[in-house]
């Protein structure tokens, strides 16, 4: 057949091209370290770009509005006073985090991209390993200059993890959050449960759920599961539960495998979704999380494990996506208990998980010194406070938090009670795959598979993702 032979000729041509291409991959990373970090330090005309996954009138509109309308003009003004003519551009995107990450990584791997950019805390490790970001001290060149920034003192050690990898600071963390159990006080009252509910073990959650189950049309408890919600399942589900068993997803360089703790978590899922305490369908829908918000607001869900974002932006009475006019009186919140008192990670009684982002400097920026100045300016108390625009939100800075959260008991609760006990996800390249495996395991269990079978497939998936020797088990 003539066609086949033609194709094989094409294949030969192709493999020749491959040899040419071999040089095209992996050429990033090298060489960028030995640039002079004081390049253009004295430039009078400076151009900087800030990249972020937020856009006016769309995703994270407020962040984009602040950057464009407040931060940039203020910084330009401040620099003008010093005789430097700075132009700062905002490069906003508005997409799924994974797509934004891909776009950012593509730019960075070509030694391009914005001079400052925001990234999720869990990407820091992967980006650092890929050489897309460098420790701030390297990029800025002067260790003292970085370490002496007075802002660090205001950022709690635990929060600083967000911008760190291997004990080095790669960026300045932005705001953070914390996870708690939200509950509907109205339903609790109907079920005869206390308004100041604070479970001390998982059993107390189930017993409260049993009580709620008697109410018609009410889903007693909703803890995210399944693959449809992606990372939401990990953050608002498996991981907070897992730390409640005393395990962390990565310890001593090894990923958590099929351990008793994991099986304990899966069993808990089984208890909830197997006995009608949770709505298993909700967990499988692509828009399931939005649905759970709406149902909570409509008094159809009793207990929901969520981050403080839920309080600020979802059931918020004025602007929320699922407004609850009586939020302040109707929505209660409690710390997430360990499976049993004292069984949590580090022997804690209560646990939580936190996430958040950081802002890093592009190692290939033309103006590393000015970028560092902008980064400091961005994270100054004045700017952090301004970025809130009157809203209450947990920021990276303690000084700002004490000031702005005073009026919001819930966020204050998170800042003071949750942040000290919280955990962060490891910023390692394999994490997304491990997280996906965890999501898959919960999907399996909720879908009817036995705990053991789900845990076994989880073990296999983790081994495939990280390598056999990097997984702890039993």
């Amino acid at each position: 057949m003539r066609r086949i032979s033609r194709l094989s000729r094409l294949a030969v041509l192709g493999s020749a091209t491959v040899l040419l291409l071999t040089g095209c991959l992996g050429s990033s990373g090298d060489g960028s370290g030995d640039q002079d970090s004081n390049r253009n330090a004295d430039a009078k005309k400076v151009e900087l770009t800030i990249g972020s996954n937020s856009v006016k009138g769309g995703k994270s509109s407020a962040g984009a509005t602040f950057t464009e309308d407040v931060l940039i003009p203020k910084f330009v003004e401040a620099q003008k006073a010093k005789g430097v003519d700075v132009t700062v551009k905002f490069q906003g995107d508005g997409s799924d985090d994974e797509v934004y990450k891909q776009k950012l990584a593509l730019s960075l791997s070509n030694k391009a991209g914005p001079d400052l950019f925001s990234l999720d805390g869990i990407w820091v490790g992967e980006f650092a390993q890929a050489g897309y970001i460098k420790p701030l001290t390297d990029t800025v060149g002067d260790a003292a200059k970085v370490n002496d920034w007075n802002g660090w003192k205001q950022i709690p050690e635990s929060v600083q993890q967000l911008g760190s990898f291997d004990g080095k600071r790669y960026g300045v963390p932005g705001g953070t959050d914390g996870r708690v159990l939200f509950f509907n006080k109205k339903l609790f009252q109907q079920a005869g449960l206390p308004a100041d509910w604070q479970p001390k073990s998982w059993d107390e959650i189930t017993s409260a759920a049993q009580a709620l189950k008697k109410l018609p049309g009410v889903t007693p408890v909703q803890i995210n599961a399944g693959t449809a919600m992606g990372e939401a399942t990990s953050m608002q589900g498996v991981l907070p539960l897992l730390v409640g068993t005393g395990a962390t997803i990565n310890s001593d360089g090894k990923w958590l495998g099929n351990t008793p703790q994991l099986r304990q978590v899966l069993d808990f899922y089984k208890t909830i979704y197997g006995s009608g305490l949770g709505d298993p369908v909700l967990q499988r829908e692509a828009k399931g999380r939005d649905k759970s918000f709406a149902e909570f607001a409509a008094n159809k869900i009793g207990i929901l494990l969520e981050s403080d974002y839920f309080w600020r932006s979802v059931v918020e009475p004025k602007e929320g996506v699922a407004k609850m006019a009586d939020r302040d009186t109707a929505v209660g919140y409690a710390l997430i208990p360990a499976s049993k008192p004292g069984a949590g990670v580090k022997g804690q009684d209560f646990v939580s998980m936190s996430g958040g982002g950081a802002t890093a400097i592009n190692p290939n920026t033309k103006f590393p010194q000015q970028a560092w100045e902008l980064l400091q300016f961005m994270n100054s108390a004045e700017m952090v406070k301004a970025s809130l625009n009157g809203a209450a939100k947990i920021t990276q800075r303690t000084d700002v938090n004490t000031e702005v959260l005073a009026g919001d008991p819930m966020l204050n609760f998170v800042a003071t009670k949750v942040l000290p006990i919280t955990q962060f996800r490891p910023g390692l390249a394999e994490y997304p795959k491990i997280s996906a495996a965890l999501q898959q395991a919960t999907a399996d269990v909720v879908g009817g598979k036995s705990t053991d079978a789900a845990a076994k497939s989880y073990q296999a998936a983790v081994e495939a993702a990280a390598g056999k020797d990097k997984v702890s088990s039993s």
Binding site: R3, G14, T17, V18, L21, T22, C24, L25, G26, S28, G29, D30, D96, E98, V99, K101, Q102, A105, L106, S109, W123, G125, E126, F127, Q129, A130, G131, Y132, G226, T227, A228, G230, V281, R284, E285, A286, K287, K291, L428, A429, E430, P432, K433, A436, Q440, A443, D444, G447
Partner: protein, 307 residues
């Protein structure tokens, strides 16, 4: 394909194939005409494709250590795919998707529309064809919203019509939903193609079939089908390829729940973006290309048997 019919001894065949340069273009100018298209295709299609194939034999990732120094892993990605239950699942779902929505759904509905609309009143014909085409030309993001709303569990149109409030169609029957969706989305092409194909069927033959009392089905099989066989094959090939590579299932279900609607393109997307494994996703892309190639060869075989 271009092999000219062998000359029949004693009776010279009149060779006037499609490849006859009647306007006197000449090979040089013909190459000139082809050049811009080939240049663009070469730069933005062939070159990236070859590059993708190359990435497929590495463990390249966009982030992490492998981003800096990817290593050639040979066929490891391919052996991995062969043992990857999720890939098998995706492959199977893609076959279902193509079979259900393209080969059966779009083909049959498209033909049925073309067949019935031949004799329908112009106003009816225009309305129906207009609607079918509208489904085809609306942007996919918009269409995704339409169908999410249609299937919605609580307020969805489908549940309102059927009185089945609370049925989560996209969760309980994801593949059925996708097949129905894609049939809706893509039927227009088949309809248009068959409409023009049916004009090639001599009315006299249809009438003689009616005269001898052939049933509708017999007429289709014995009179219509032989005339449009080439069209059926072309259409089936094109819509099969398009469906197999269609990404819109992602917009509806994101591959869920629990991979139940994760066709190969969606799987590739998830592997590349969620998992960041570009090497592996490139390898799967290449496997998809091979599968496409096999389908195309099968089609050519069938087409050749026609003559």
């Amino acid at each position: 394909m271009t092999t000219a019919p062998a000359p029949v001894p004693g009776r010279p065949a009149r060779v006037r194939g499609p490849a006859q340069d009647v306007a006197g273009l000449g090979v040089a100018r013909a190459v000139g005409f082809l050049a811009p298209a080939l240049l663009l295709i070469g730069a933005f299609l062939v070159f990236p494709a070859i590059w993708t194939i190359y990435i497929g034999i590495t463990n390249y990732r966009l982030t992490g250590v492998e981003a800096v120094s990817p290593s050639i892993v040979g066929l490891a990605n391919y052996t991995k795919a062969l043992n990857d239950a999720l890939f098998h699942n995706a492959l199977w779902l893609t076959v279902l998707f193509v079979l259900g929505s393209a080969i059966v759904g779009q083909n049959i509905l498209g033909f049925a529309l073309a067949w019935t609309m031949r004799r329908a009143r112009p106003a009816v014909r225009r309305t129906v064809e207009g609607l079918v085409l509208l489904a085809w030309i609306l942007p996919s993001t918009v269409v995704a919203y339409l169908w999410i709303a249609f299937f919605d569990r609580d307020t969805g149109t489908l549940n309102s019509i059927l009185g089945t409030q609370g049925t989560a169609w996209l969760i309980d029957y994801p593949m059925v939903c996708l097949i129905v969706f894609n049939t809706w989305r893509g039927t227009a092409f088949s309809m248009m193609l068959y409409s023009s194909a049916l004009q090639a069927v001599p009315p006299s033959q249809l009438e003689s079939a009616r005269m001898v009392g052939a049933s509708g089905w017999q007429t289709l099989r014995d009179v219509v089908f032989p005339h449009i066989r080439g069209h059926v094959l072309t259409n089936t090939l094109l819509i099969s390829l398009w469906t197999a590579n269609d990404f819109s299932p992602f917009l509806l279900t994101k591959g869920g729940p629990n991979h139940e609607s994760e066709t190969v393109p969606v799987y590739i997307y998830n592997v590349a973006l969620q998992g960041g494994e570009l090497g592996y996703s490139s390898a799967i892309s290449f496997l998809l290309l091979i599968a496409n190639l096999l389908v195309a060869l099968l089609y050519l075989r069938l087409l050749r048997r026609r003559s």
